[in-house]
Symmetry: C2
Subunit: 239 residues, 2 copies
């Protein structure tokens, strides 16, 4: 797997660099490049928010200019919250992740400085702009937020199985167990004259069956419910 490098241009707060490293670690990215970090490097504050991603902070490389940071890159995608007056292709985080996955060479995701954003002269050197969908005009995401979204889409684009799936106990009961349970219930209801000869009995039964089937029970849950029915039925006989 050829994961993209993450390039931060002129990052200001060490805490934000750490938060980006944490997100990278959460989502399987490991190569961090810093262009002219404001407070120099190394920066102890970057460790405080990196959680278990200190190894990414420690391995980060520092460059004087963006040109140097992308020198060996073949596909460079930059995130930005505002449109630019540059005839540059625009893409979204999910499409960008698929594009990065499909690219065999060296790739990079670029994030600009906290307030100013990436300069147009730097955008010009990138292959495309990524715009992250937000609501209305609250489009300003911080570095921690933006890196989480791109990392998350990178993992999603892998098509990997989710972290965990339905528990096996949720496996649906075979239909014969459901119909057996429904027959048992109908038998009890008939015996207690629940329907009182109502001509709507078929509709009422249909609604009851629909209601019970909606729960999508497992075989064990069907057995539990049948036990409940039987317990109530037998207690009624003993009462």
């Amino acid at each position: 797997m050829n994961a993209p490098a993450v390039i931060l241009i002129r990052p200001q707060m060490g805490e934000n660099i750490g938060a980006v490293a944490r997100a990278m670690n959460n989502f399987g990215l490991s190569e961090l490049r810093l262009v002219a970090p404001r407070d120099g490097w190394p920066n102890p504050k970057a460790h405080s928010t990196a959680a278990r991603a200190e190894h990414i902070i420690d391995a980060a490389k520092v460059y004087a200019t963006f040109e140097e940071a992308i020198a060996d890159m073949q596909l460079v995608l930059a995130t930005t919250a505002r449109p630019r007056d540059i005839a540059k292709r625009v893409t979204t985080p999910d499409l960008a992740a698929q594009e990065l996955r499909a690219h065999a060479g060296n790739t990079a995701l670029v994030f600009g400085p906290e307030r100013a954003g990436i300069e147009n002269s730097e955008i010009t050197l990138c292959d495309a702009i990524i715009t992250i969908p937000t609501a209305g005009d609250n489009s300003s995401l911080n570095l921690a937020q933006a890196s989480v979204i791109l990392g998350y889409e990178w993992v999603k684009a892998s098509g990997a199985a989710p972290l965990f799936t339905q528990p096996a106990t949720l496996d649906l009961a075979p239909k014969e167990e459901m119909t057996g349970m429904l027959a048992q219930l109908e038998d009890y209801l008939d015996k207690v004259d629940y329907f009182r000869g109502d001509h709507k009995k078929p509709t009422m039964l249909q609604n009851i069956k629909t209601m019970l089937l909606r729960g999508a029970w497992s075989a064990q849950e069907v057995r539990t419910f049948r036990g409940i029915l039987r317990a109530i039925w037998e207690r009624r006989l003993n009462a």
Copy 2:
């Protein structure tokens, strides 16, 4: 639009509550409910990380128990990083967002406390569990990260147009402008005897055309390139 409420169970750090509010504001969510926040409420630290979402912090409602917080809810989805021994449906952020969009009633997204996560007795009251895809065993996302991902998927599920799209200057040139440009180039190349009678001229020309067409130029860019060709051609004549 019936956006889900966000419910934080026993949140610890005010800064994290603020970060969740910021993410909510970024992604069009506004109703915040807090179950027994550790440091009481109001909490001044929640404002410090809320960016422009102070109104969400100010309108947050506090509940003593999770049951009270979900009393009026009809669909409640809980995020958790670890599987539970509960026969509960498991979903993903994108599918959860679509499910919330499709639901007409009151819905909620639930996040557990920072370290301990949601208790099983609380998970039991939810309709499904959301698991966020991460890389390998680095599955521990903080509140700020998890709320950004769910908010982002909520906006994505709206099918709304992205924040901005390709600039109009990227509209591709009509093909006749491309072929005109290529004809002009071929004319110059013939006049300077670029191909020197090489029998591979057709292949060479095909490669040159392919290379130039890959840029997917706009009409203006085609005109610019034709101007460049002409300028070089004429300067050559003057030289």
